[in-house]
């Protein structure tokens, strides 16, 4: 697999890049934030081992000969999520912002510092979101969560273990990964009363729910939330019953792109996750597998109207404020 990709993309890659690519390809890294951490870690390793060839300028050479092909390789292993693209964008902006810095070592040190700062920033942001969101959970609440999001489970656990709130959690799950079971395991360890169900029963359980807490892969400039496939359905049903929907998301995941439907930019999972044509189906001898197509989308986009509030490290915001935050961040970096 690696050799094939190398041939397509061309060039040699740092072992850290290959390792990270394979981890992504095999789906070992769960959650977009985990992959962002992975990406930052990989970038730091690559940068540390990089030496600019004689007569070449570090910044431009690193960008052209190392960064771009590596990212291309990673993208082919698994499409980079919007939050990863954001991270790369900020990384490159910082890199090119150092053109006046003297000495290659100085640039490398500063960039490594930038990566360390970014990692720490995301970690602190998640910590802050955990505190803000957990404070919204009150006694006797029934909280609905969907699939698995490390941030969301940490919020619920914090509300139980540190804030000593007594509430119930409904875990809504769906195939093909059934990641909700992970959430369920963590909740049980924390001693939280939980109910597990499939998304097919969503409408039934929603009447009992008074708060929905979701994670997100990215928040788009029009306030739409890009989340795991099915999340928009959860938000829609919650909205139809006037149940507030909280989306927990670090501001580094706010993007300037706009997307109104889920097809514009998405990721397709392998067909085999949904259906094994020879094993699961009893096909007539005449019919061919070409007749059957599977749709295994990984993400969907929920309109901002369904979201009551975004819980971010800078506080709770309405979805309409996304462009303001990105603009402020951009101005600050510039």
């Amino acid at each position: 697999m690696v050799f094939e990709l190398r041939r397509v993309v061309g060039g040699q890659f740092h072992p850290a890049v290959v390792k990270f690519g394979l981890q992504m390809h095999r789906g070992l890294l769960r959650g977009s934030t985990t992959r962002v951490f992975g990406l930052l870690h990989t970038l730091s390793q690559v940068l540390r081992d990089y030496e600019a060839p004689a007569g070449k300028e570090l910044i431009r050479d690193f960008d052209a000969t190392v960064l771009k092909p590596s990212l291309e390789f990673l993208h082919r292993c698994r499409p980079l999520s919007l939050s990863m693209r954001n991270t790369v964008e900020v990384f490159r902006q910082t890199l090119f912002g150092m053109e006046n810095t003297q000495g290659d070592n100085e640039v490398k040190l500063k960039m490594l510092e930038h990566i360390a700062d970014s990692t720490e920033f995301i970690r602190l942001a998640r910590e802050q979101i955990k505190l803000t969101a957990a404070a919204r959970i009150v006694d006797e609440d029934v909280v609905l969560i969907y699939g698995y999001c490390a941030l969301v489970t940490s919020i619920v656990k914090y509300a139980k273990e540190h804030l000593k709130k007594e509430f119930k959690v409904i875990v809504v799950d769906t195939g093909p990964d059934f990641e909700g079971k992970l959430s369920l395991e963590e909740l049980c360890c924390a001693g939280i009363q939980a109910c597990y169900t499939y998304i097919t029963a969503l409408n039934v359980v929603m009447s009992k729910v008074n708060k929905v807490i979701l994670g997100a892969d990215a928040i788009l400039a029009n306030g739409a939330v890009k989340g795991p496939i099915g999340a928009s359905q959860v938000a829609m049903v919650a909205n139809s019953r006037n149940v507030p929907v909280l989306v927990c998301c670090e501001t580094f995941k706010f993007t300037e792109t706009v997307q109104t439907d889920s097809f514009h930019f998405n990721e397709l999972g392998p067909e085999s996750e949904l259906l094994n044509l020879t094993e699961n189906l009893n096909l007539n001898p005449g019919s061919t597998s070409a007749q059957i197509k599977t749709l295994n989308l990984k993400y969907d986009v929920m309109p901002g109207d369904f979201v009551s509030a975004l819980v971010t490290e800078i506080g709770m915001l309405p979805c309409s404020s996304v462009p303001v935050v990105t603009r402020e961040h951009f101005l600050r970096r510039a």
Binding site: R136, N242, P244, A309, P318, S320, S321, V324, V325
Partner: protein
């Protein structure tokens, strides 16, 4: 032979009142039917046409001379006329005819008695354990249904609106409490606030109109006081406030009808300025219980010479179709651009949205607060209840009337502030720039 003394309208009304008094708690429609039967017994019409005219006269008499609900009386009369004057009736012999009609009327009453139980019966299956039910004013059918559900062992909670001006909800609440049903009496203006806790709304109807709509009581609310907010305005604020009024004036056109809730200095100032600029418009002010602050607002506006009508808090739904613009103040503007204001604002916002009327909020930017309520129950208690109530020990806040409610941003068209005219989402943008 002509009847010597025709019954006067007053006599007919007296009959009706007599029935209401002697019968144990009949509905107005049933009382009307009983009155008709009684009148028929002493009727001396000689032709069927004459009898029909008499029936019409009785109906009009009851409508104009009794305190009963007109919608109920009309429907009662229509039902009984349909029932009594079936085609198979022999219309030649008037005495036979009358006898036949009286019998029909009585059998109808018996049938109705039986049917009433069926209403309660049918409803019981829709009430589930743990439900919160909101009901308005006093309705015998609703009462009967709730009583039956209670007897069947259903456990539920009831919110009853106080239902001004006659406070009939108060009686309903008392009767339900006597039955042992947990009941909370709420202000008429609190319906928006309470709605999120409610699973089911039960209302009786005085009449059901042909398109399936119902006519029911126009209502309102109760006592309790509001903390007088002692505000010392700074000179700069004084200046800025003028800007709010200034900006709004251009949005007021001649001939407009404006609805405002409670008393707001900003709204008052804006209306005053518009008046001084020669705009001619009409204002509806809600009475705004429990402190009747709208009453003061209305008298102040009238003093200025603005045509002002004070309306019941409960009649916002009724008045909204006549209104071009809703103007409210705000006690606080929260992070998402929603507002916290005198209880009843949310209800007005909802009705305005449903009838597609613009809602303008007038407030200074120092009222922006870093608070993000998701619904009414998330409003902090100190916003909702006066300090005197919070200080008392052992108070069940669920039983207290909230003084303010939260109006979410999607119900608000514009906020007129000293920073300029903002859409609700711009509030959050302003706060982000301030705090980020």
């Amino acid at each position: 032979m002509r009847k010597t003394q025709r019954m006067t309208d007053e006599d007919i009304a007296k009959h009706f009142v007599e029935v209401l008094r002697t019968e144990k708690d009949p509905s107005d429609a049933i009382a009307a039917i009983k009155t008709v039967i009684k009148l028929l017994e002493s009727d001396e019409s000689e032709t069927f046409l004459e009898l029909s005219r008499e029936l019409n006269r009785w109906e009009n008499a009851l409508r104009s001379h009794s305190e009963g609900s007109v919608a109920s009386i009309i429907s009662g009369f229509e039902q009984i006329q349909q029932h009594m004057t079936k085609k198979d009736m022999d219309r030649t012999d008037m005495s036979k005819c009358r006898k036949f009609m009286i019998e029909r009327g009585k059998s109808y009453l018996v049938e109705m008695e039986h049917r009433k139980c069926r209403i309660a019966e049918e409803l019981t299956s829709h009430i589930a354990d743990g439900m919160s039910i909101l009901t308005h004013s006093r309705s015998k059918n609703v009462f009967r249904a709730l009583k039956l559900a209670m007897q069947r062992g259903k456990r539920f909670k009831v919110y009853v609106t106080e239902s001004m001006p006659d406070k009939s909800g108060h009686r309903m609440a008392r009767e339900l409490t006597e039955l042992g049903i947990p009941t909370t009496e709420i202000l008429d203006a609190s319906i928006g606030y309470i709605m999120e806790k409610v699973d089911l709304v039960l209302v009786g109807a005085e009449g059901v109109v042909e398109n399936g709509g119902i006519i029911n009581k126009d209502m309102s609310k109760c006592r309790k006081f509001m903390i007088e907010r002692g505000k010392s305005y700074l000179v700069e604020m004084e200046h800025r406030k003028c800007r709010i009024a200034e900006e709004l004036t251009s949005h007021i056109a001649d001939g407009m009808s404006i609805l405002t809730h409670s008393r707001s200095k900003n709204v008052f100032r804006a209306l005053k300025l518009a008046m001084q600029r020669g705009k001619r418009f009409k204002v509806y002010v809600t009475e705004s219980m429990p402190d009747k602050s709208g009453h003061r607002m209305a008298s102040e506006l009238t003093e200025l010479g603005i045509p002002t009508t004070e309306i019941l808090d409960a009649s916002i739904g009724y008045i909204m179709e006549k209104v071009d613009l809703v103007l409210v103040g705000a006690e606080g503007v929260v992070e998402n651009g929603g507002i916290i204001n005198k209880v009843g604002t949310y209800g007005i916002g909802l009705v305005a949205k449903a009838l597609k009327k613009p809602v303008y909020v007038l407030c200074e930017s120092f009222k922006f607060v870093r608070l993000y309520p998701l619904n009414q129950s998330e409003l902090p208690a100190e916003f909702k209840y006066p300090a005197s109530v919070l200080k008392k020990s052992g108070v069940n806040l669920e039983e207290e009337h909230p003084l303010v409610d939260y109006t979410p941003p999607h119900l608000i068209t514009f906020l007129f502030t000293d920073l300029g005219t903002l859409v609700p989402s711009a509030v959050s943008d302003t706060l982000i720039k301030l705090y980020l």
